[in-house]
């Protein structure tokens, strides 16, 4: 694994403890400047092979999307952010989506989810046979500081799920 948890975890716990008073005073922008970002030394790489027209694509955003009638919103209050994941079905329409993410202006995505989760464009490309298939279940993360839970729990589940679903390529759209 390229992400050094042993090194990150104590630095992160220290950051949380030291930052809590400022966080409670609403100075998130300040404390993020001191966040113990980990820059990996190496870069994982899987060569791309094959043709898009024969492959299954999954879409992942970090825009804080959730299905507002059936899923809980992300936690936008905790200093840890929210390391969980929401499954967004391919059949989603604009009106199904709620957005819970306190660190960006989501007013434009509320008009058109495709600007950070271009699911409807992907479906059009599937219909035109430019890509093989959009997988039935796509995903949204939200704002996360607790990368430990993200890396040890959420992402392994995400990876086993997309593998089981036969995903060949992932399009990642951070905010």
């Amino acid at each position: 694994m390229t992400f050094d948890l042993e090194k990150f975890n104590p630095a992160y716990q220290r950051w949380v403890t030291e930052s809590l008073p400022e966080f409670r005073a609403g100075r998130m922008a300040e404390i993020v400047k001191r966040y113990p970002f980990v820059v990996s030394d190496d870069m994982p790489w899987t060569p791309y092979k094959g043709q898009p027209s024969e492959q299954t694509f999954a879409l992942v955003t970090s825009g804080g999307f959730f299905m507002k009638d059936s899923q809980p919103a992300f936690d936008t209050v905790s200093i840890h952010g929210d390391p969980s994941l929401r499954e967004i079905p391919k059949t989603v329409s604009q009106g199904d989506i709620g957005i819970a993410h306190a660190q960006y202006d989501h007013s434009l995505a509320e008009k058109d989810i495709n600007i950070i989760f271009p699911i409807h464009r992907m479906i059009e490309l599937e219909e035109e046979k430019i890509i093989g298939r959009v997988v039935a279940t796509n995903y949204s993360f939200s704002y996360v500081n607790d990368v430990v839970t993200l890396v040890t729990e959420t992402i392994p589940k995400f990876i086993s799920r997309i593998k089981a679903d036969g995903v060949d390529v992932v399009l990642l759209v951070p905010v």
């Binding site: 060569p47 960006y104 271009p118 059009e124 890509i131 997309i162 593998k163 390529v169 399009l171």
Partner: protein, 80 residues
Amino acid sequence: MTEEAGIPTISMGNVPDRMAHIKPPRALLVKFARGSMFGEPGNVKRQRRIILDALEALKTMTEPGTIRELPYRWQQPDPA
């Protein structure tokens, strides 16, 4: 971690400094504000164009860490 699991990825980005932290294996850099990586709401042609650029990037980027900057600007027509 997705790449480590054997699944290639293509990432969008809009802030070079942030991308230097995250080090995506393959990425497209856009000149749009946070929260609108595929351009203006309702600009179907541009959203589609950027996905086609992503498909092209998958096929042509052969070096880990390649970042290609896209020329599109907010509410201006795409270059031919």
